[in-house]
């Protein structure tokens, strides 16, 4: 069998269990694809020796008939996850050389499920960015291309998106604080799900905004997302916000039927200046779900407009607090000091050298909104608006809506460098459709649904009820089948 790296998780799993292929063959195919794809800059710390060792162990388990759900399946891990003995830098200079002595709960869960780690994936620094241009490792390139420009894979999980879309790995982990799984998934024609807040343990994932951060899988299909999400989720006493709830069999949930269920179409997501193609795709998606037997209703989420401004208070505020730990004392970079420099100079120089401009900007905005005199006007007001945003969703779910359909992004992938001179707020607008979901703690999934006129992928987002990822995946599976998206980027790298 050729091109094993192009398999889905589900097909590779079945082939492994049927002894048609081995995990070592599969892993070697991926490692060779990774080696040939340096131009994408997706993988930044390769772990081929570890991968082959894990693949051999997986083959032994498969031979014994003791194969857990992800046994022998090669995946990539976002650099935000701490992986024992393997560089984990959150794509930041301030964590240069950091090799954790421990493994994040999510990556440990994946190891326990038998997955093989090919290496660490590029991302925006500290997951702050929407284009993967803030990484200390340099920009990630989208495998999709329509002319001689290099396009962004989106961000912050841009390395994960690019790697999965280019078949360097079968799937990858991502994290999503304001859209960082769903936006890059949409830009690269793959599937990405952010589960309900509390489903995945945050322990061992470098923190950005703790009340918003969630890990999730980025995969080639909805079925793969179901398989991998189930392996990632668990109750974890080491994360006090991790929920003590059984993890359902998400793959089994795909078999259900959406007949008679209700889909809401929020009028506030029809934005001024939205490209016609996105509007058209959204209507087509609505028709597809209707054809599958869903009832479609118009709904209103009146505070949508205020989600992004609330996010840009809450996320930087939490970041300024979380990132206070990078002080040059316990790990990572410490600046060279001059004669007479004390500890304050050490902090200030270390942080100025170690953090990139976007991270510095967000830390300082966070510091400002939390400072005496502004705390109520900004931070508390934003948290009140967050309560209202969550209530908007609760109200429509109480009216009988089962899931909500929206566009995933306001545009297709743009060129790297294109937003260089724009003010930071222009970049923030990328997350306009995804950020509400983080503020409300809900599960959201991006499903590739079509190509624009240029031939670039576009995604639709489905938003589900809290802890109803199974039902959400069922809707996504229905949409995926109806949309029949099979396009792949033409290989140029």
């Amino acid at each position: 069998m050729s091109d094993l790296n192009k398999l889905t998780l589900a097909d590779a799993r079945d082939n492994l269990r049927d002894k048609e292929i081995t995990s070592v063959e599969l892993t070697e195919a991926c490692l060779s694809a990774v080696d040939r794809a340096k131009a994408l800059n997706a993988f930044v710390h390769d772990t081929p020796d570890l991968a082959l060792e894990q693949a051999k162990a997986a083959d032994a388990r498969l031979a014994e008939g003791d194969a857990p759900s992800m046994c022998g399946l090669p995946i990539g891990i976002k650099d935000l996850f701490c992986t024992k003995g393997v560089a984990s830098q959150a794509a930041s200079a301030i964590l240069k050389g950091f090799k954790p002595e421990y493994e994040s709960t999510v990556s440990q869960n994946l190891r326990d499920a038998g997955a093989v780690m090919l290496g660490k994936l590029n991302m925006d620094e500290f997951a702050m960015g929407s284009s993967n241009e803030t990484s200390v490792y340099g920009d990630v390139v989208n495998p999709w291309k329509v002319d001689d420009r290099n396009l962004t894979p989106g961000g912050s999980s841009g390395g994960s998106a690019s790697a999965v879309a280019a078949d360097l790995c079968l799937a990858a982990t991502g994290t999503d604080t304001g859209g960082s799984i769903r936006q890059p998934a949409a830009f690269t024609g793959i599937v990405g799900i952010k589960p309900t807040y509390g489903r995945c343990s945050r322990w061992g994932i470098v923190a950005f905004a703790s009340s918003l951060d969630q890990a999730g899988p980025m995969t080639k299909t909805v079925r793969d997302a179901a398989i991998m999400l189930e392996a990632m989720c668990s109750h974890d006493p080491k994360d006090s916000t991790s929920v003590d709830m059984a993890v359902p069999n998400f793959e089994a949930a795909l078999e259900g039927d959406i007949k008679g269920k209700t889909i809401g179409i929020p009028k506030e997501y029809r934005m001024d200046g939205m490209p016609d193609e996105i509007e058209a795709l959204w209507s087509q998606g609505t028709e597809m779900l209707k054809d599958a037997g869903a009832k479609v209703v118009d709904i209103s989420l009146p505070h949508t407009k205020y989600a992004l401004p609330a996010y840009y208070v809450i996320a930087p505020a939490e970041a300024s607090s979380n990132l206070a730990r990078y002080d040059g004392v316990r790990y990572g970079h410490r600046a060279k000091l001059s004669q007479g420099d004390g500890i304050t100079e050490m902090y200030e120089k270390t942080r100025a050298e170690g953090f990139g401009p976007e991270v510095q900007r967000r830390i300082m905005i966070g510091t400002y909104v939390l400072s005496a005199g502004f705390y109520d006007a900004y931070y508390n007001r934003a948290r009140k608006v967050r309560t209202l945003i969550k209530k908007d969703f609760e109200d429509v779910f109480a009216q009988g809506v089962d899931a909500i359909l929206t566009p995933a992004t306001p545009s297709a992938a743009f060129a790297l460098g294109e937003m260089k001179d724009a003010d930071p707020v222009q970049m923030y607008l990328n997350d306009v459709f995804t950020v509400t979901v983080n503020l409300a703690g809900l599960p959201g999934i991006s499903v590739p649904a079509g190509l624009d006129k240029q031939g670039l992928p576009l995604g639709l987002q489905l938003i589900g009820k809290p802890f109803e990822e199974g039902e959400l995946l069922q809707f996504a599976h229905t949409l995926e089948r109806a949309a029949g998206f099979v396009a792949k980027p033409e290989k140029w790298w």
């Binding site: 090799k99 309900t196 509390g198 510095q360 900007r361 400002y368 608006v385 930071p424 923030y428």
Partner: protein, 95 residues
Amino acid sequence: MSIDITTAAKVAKLARIKVEDDALPSLAEEFNAILGFIEQLEEVDVDGVEPMTSVTPQRLKRREDVVTDGDQQEKVLSNAPDAREGFFAVPKVVE
């Protein structure tokens, strides 16, 4: 609300990030663009609304107040830029 150069310098100091004087005007300008965007929140009627503390309804769990981890000095220090004799080393803080 508009941020001037003095305020930008104060925020940088509070955040413990060294910003050179010549970089302050553009920093202040960026802050103003972001804060201008954030100020839309003033349009929202938030009277009587509780600020969100937890997005999921659950209460934070409690656990026994016992030691669950420790005795890992070497591992704790293994990534330190400067560790000596079992401690993190920093510039002199007390005269």
